[in-house]
Symmetry: C3
Subunit: 155 residues, 3 copies
């Protein structure tokens, strides 16, 4: 019955504990059927996967893997928001992907694909989203990538 949970298991993805609220913002807010997920950085088991700008300090491949981890963390927040029932996801609506970039680095889309492909692997057609991927001079705590998400859910 837990279709998406089974799919995550098939993919070998175990969702981490959702990050705790930091300061005066929260990991997720729902307005109507839209859930807004705060910008996620590529923490994995307490460690930042990729730190610094691409490609000077972080390779394209490392950055794409970090984007995937941001996506996994966003799914952890979403799962928490939905009391674990990811089958309530109707559609992933939009990803905003910020890539810490050296001047002249223009492969942000390849980095962002790390998060985008995750959503399609997990949700299939319902994971295909609109996206904006851009370069950023620097990101919180030195993260190489930050991903925020809007998801439509059903009751």
């Amino acid at each position: 019955m837990a279709r998406i949970r089974d799919r995550l298991e098939e993919l070998g993805i175990s969702l981490p504990e959702a990050p705790r609220p930091v300061a005066a913002y929260v990991p997720s807010v729902q307005a109507g059927s839209l859930v807004f997920i705060s910008g996620q950085v590529p923490f994995s088991e307490g460690t930042l996967l990729a730190s610094g700008t691409v490609p000077g300090s972080v390779t394209l491949e490392q950055a794409a893997a970090a984007a995937r981890q941001c996506g996994i963390n966003a799914l952890a927040v979403l799962s928490d928001h939905l009391d674990g029932d990811l089958d309530r996801v109707e559609q992933v609506v939009r990803l905003g992907v910020f890539v810490a970039s050296d001047p002249g680095f223009t492969d942000q889309p390849k980095v962002a694909n790390g998060a985008s492909e995750l959503m399609e692997e997990v949700f299939g057609e319902a994971g295909r989203h609109a996206r904006a991927a851009v370069g950023s001079v620097s990101l919180p705590i030195g993260a190489a990538v930050e991903v925020e998400m809007i998801v439509q859910v059903r009751d």
Copy 2:
């Protein structure tokens, strides 16, 4: 009857073919009455209109023209989403405009006006939107500008 199509003709704007989906994201997603359009770069007939940062490699005027082209491409995606019926547009809600900027360049609003004025020319009052315009160290494929859009539509 096709009021907006007529208006585009009056303005001498012919919409290009909407860009094909690249990787695991799509040009547009609708959630309720909101259509989210992915970040558009200033492609025109297969060529990037403006490449590099403003003002080092691209003048303010070129960048504003590129922003307008991003807007035209966003309208092409929207038209495709609405099966060609742009008269279903209720309101352009928000533009997100990213301008590839040299350090110290602070005229992002003038660049973004290229896209904003297009929306008002095409849709009149319904084209007046909320906006965030910011500088970016570098953008996908070297584009000088990237524009994403949220539009409210009726059935």
Copy 3:
């Protein structure tokens, strides 16, 4: 009866006049119950509170104060949108915070807290929002911070 107006008074916050529309965009657009507020810069009585990048030209503390001012300006726009009745705010949904950053500056979250904490002070639980905070190479008119906002309102 004007609960939020009283709360602003308690906090010693007087809302400025909402900024006038500039060019072909507007300070706020409502779609359904969501109000989208355009990116605000830290103007206070006609003067930009903080100009340039953090930390080279602007300290962390100055930038956080500027983020708070951006938030105050966003509330001024929202108040104007709601004909002065901020009690119609159901939930602050999302803040987008752009911080003009020198390469290597990674404390954008601390800067963004200036705006986030304001929302919680003013609206309590309803002020707790999703957030994306990122670095930007440079921002409109040299602002050190830009804040945009999505708010859910009731009739």
